[in-house]
Symmetry: C2
Subunit: 350 residues, 2 copies
């Protein structure tokens, strides 16, 4: 079996673990019959669930892990647990058994453990967290979402490169358009770091796909396919957008319960309202991805159900089967030679 089809899974992470995790993997086994899962967790809880599945039981290997990392455990404490389901899953990527790992558990622990155990991909200075968001013109990729509060222009350029490849592989776009998040679209806007990153992107191999600066409203507007930003801004923007969508949802629920006429209206419009709900279904956007590590690392939302977890598996398998990490390395090499020749061309003759 090709290693690119093997995913390590932490069965104990998330609010509805291990039930939602195992059901999610069962759904994923139907969608991806070639996939194989190494499942880590508490045998007494997990093994019976696997045995009861229709398909998953023939597509996995279960391994007992003696410890569980709770949702509120500090990463520093989690790092010390050598036999946790999460640690064992990540270790199996390091050893080469699995091509990627997926967990719905403690985000801080997943980040800390995967950075320490798997280490950063050669040529990447800082890993980034990416996610897919809905927009008026289809799905868009946004990164970084919280790993890098401290960053420089080169980091932003690396995020752009990783985001571009991620959008090609996971969204299936032939030439994703990239925007750098700023507070205005004019060239002089933002700080020095943003302006330097923009200048570097204009000299990079993905220069033709670089749109320039974009603003907050361009995220849901779908102006570009990949939104590049630092971890602080990206985290705030993602959560602000989610919060705004949730707010309107709440208002809509009130609207259709406002009286008998409104309820009647709901009955008539139900079919097309359902499509709206599907478009915005948070489960479709489940799975933030850690880019730039030696191995694919996917974080499923802690509160997800089986269907949401299966979506996160889709993303992980898209990345492993399309050899995301080797292609990042190729992209970096191409960019570095382009930037070097741009520098050489710009240098005065001596």
């Amino acid at each position: 079996m090709s290693r690119s089809n093997i995913l390590a899974v932490d069965a104990m992470g998330g609010d509805h673990a291990p039930e939602a995790i195992i059901s999610g993997l069962d759904i994923a086994s139907l969608r991806h019959p070639q996939a194989h899962f190494l499942i880590f967790g508490d045998e007494a809880l997990v093994a019976p669930l696997i045995a009861a599945t229709k398909r998953l039981k023939n597509h996995c290997e279960f391994r007992h892990a003696g410890e569980t990392i709770s949702g509120d455990m500090k990463p520093t404490v989690a790092l010390r647990l050598r036999d946790s389901s999460l640690r064992r899953a990540i270790d199996s990527v390091l050893s080469g058994e699995a091509a990627g790992v997926i967990s719905a558990g403690n985000t801080g622990a997943l980040l800390a453990l995967s950075k320490i155990v798997l280490k950063t991909l050669k040529g990447i200075d800082r890993p980034a967290m990416a996610a897919i968001c809905p927009s008026a013109r289809g799905d868009v990729v946004m990164l970084d979402l919280g790993l890098n509060v401290v960053y420089d222009a080169r980091n932003l350029v690396e995020f752009a490169l990783m985001g571009e490849l991620f959008a090609r592989i996971v969204l299936g776009l032939p030439a994703p358009v990239i925007g750098l998040l700023n507070i205005g679209s004019e060239e002089g806007k933002g700080d020095e770091t943003l302006r330097t990153a923009a200048a570097m992107l204009r000299e990079s191999p993905i220069a033709k796909q670089f749109y320039g600066f974009v603003e907050g409203h361009d995220i849901a507007g779908g102006t570009v396919d990949v939104i590049v930003t630092d971890g602080f801004t990206g985290n705030v923007a993602l959560k602000t957008g989610e919060g705004a969508l949730k707010f309107v949802y709440g208002l809509l629920r009130e609207v259709f319960q406002a009286g008998p006429l409104a309820k009647m209206g709901y009955l008539f419009a139900r079919g097309s309202l359902r499509r709206l709900k599907e478009t915005l279904d948070p489960r479709r956007y489940n799975g933030a991805v850690l880019l730039g590590l030696n191995g694919v690392v996917v974080k499923s939302h802690g509160g997800t159900d089986a269907l949401g977890f299966a979506h996160a598996v889709d993303v992980a398998l898209d990345m492993t089967s399309n050899d995301f990490n080797s292609r990042i390395a190729e992209g970096l090499a191409a960019m570095d030679s382009a930037l070097l020749s741009a520098e050489a061309a710009a240098a005065p003759n001596v």
Copy 2:
């Protein structure tokens, strides 16, 4: 007439100027019969509009201004026009004739001119831009929205103080709750500047109203009444939220045009959908405010109509008639003595 009821108005700024401006002032004259407007603009265009109003003509004084600042003019160019309607309006605040100024025109020019002409309020290091946003638990104030890309902890504390008073006066809240925008609610999250600002707020006179760190989803969630952040993050968050609302609006429009059943549904639910629309009506949230200058400065949205402009006038008059600026000065003095005694208490005995 009390100066606090006199507002200077740039009649030439905005996409629908001067018509929308004059109609907006006419609406405002009905709501605020005590108000008086000094209107600056091109006599040939503006004077006939004023003469045709029902009420405004008795509540204003018109002054011809020979120049107009266009929407795309660079602030550096705008600064040189001494007879522009905007400059003349701001000058009338400096001279003490008017208590505040309001414009729907070029934002960059308004910011640059009002900072240079009016100067920063004594004790305030940097002015901030604030706006009111809808949330699941009523309106909230957010600041800074783009003036300060460079900032320190003391600036954030000053924003909190100004935002608190703004929420008391404009939203009518007796003790607004303040949150500091971050990427997690735990104490250790964010950078040093945020942690220092949080520590200072815990020692300030508004300590009891300080909620702590909040995240992006808390904005529309209405967790607190005042969201304090730097200008870059605030600008991105505001526009991201607006973009998300616009996106859902577009989807809703599609939903109700999806077929005869959906259209029927719309007819039934129309009444309560209208209330949803009113709740989110951008005109209700029109009027970003520059806090921390010697004079009240309100920026109306460039694309606003008369009703939106009238809302911006409401905000400006709330601030001038409640003596916003003197109360900011008092708040600053109280805070400084509280921080000083906190420092003294923390100092070792020598």
